[in-house]
Amino acid sequence: MRIEIPQFIWIAWFVIVSIATILATIRAIVGPTNSDRAVGLDTWTTITTGFWVILALYFFQYILLSVSMVYAILSFLGVLAIARYLERGL
């Protein structure tokens, strides 16, 4: 059960999150150093976790919430691995 949410609210959410994702992606592409790219990637994954949660609500599937949990765990581990790599190499 969930309340009826008007179409324009969904569109507003998706548009704002998409713009945020695009800005983070630009930072992840442009750089200028590898560390900047890692920071862009970190922000990107956090935004995507939020996006998964909204998608779970949109399709109204409880299982997608679990997907976002797994995504959050994996992105955390990934960012830690990247940080370790930046500090002293693999």
Partner: protein, 116 residues
Amino acid sequence: MVDLILGWTGVVLVFIGVFFLFLGALGIFRLPDLFNRLQAGTKATTLGVVSTTIGVGLIAKGWLVFSLALAIFLLMTNPISSHALGRASYRAGVKPYKGTNPDLYAEKVKKESDQK
């Protein structure tokens, strides 16, 4: 009635969350050096994703428990990853923005690299 009030509170929370996610990305895009970017990125996106998650938990009935667990997990892990990135990139030789003053951390890093 209660459902309706909780649901619309949730919608407002998701709006706030989405807005702060956007602000975090804008901060990443605009600020001049890595550490300032990391600050904006961490704080704004953490509040954004936590607020979004709790809002979704309020909108859909019966999701609140899991979404609170997800929110607590994100609150605990996000600062750690940003801390790791900041420390690693300072040691990897990223120079802070030229207006950075004072820079007490530089002394420590220099001392440690001399010891090696």
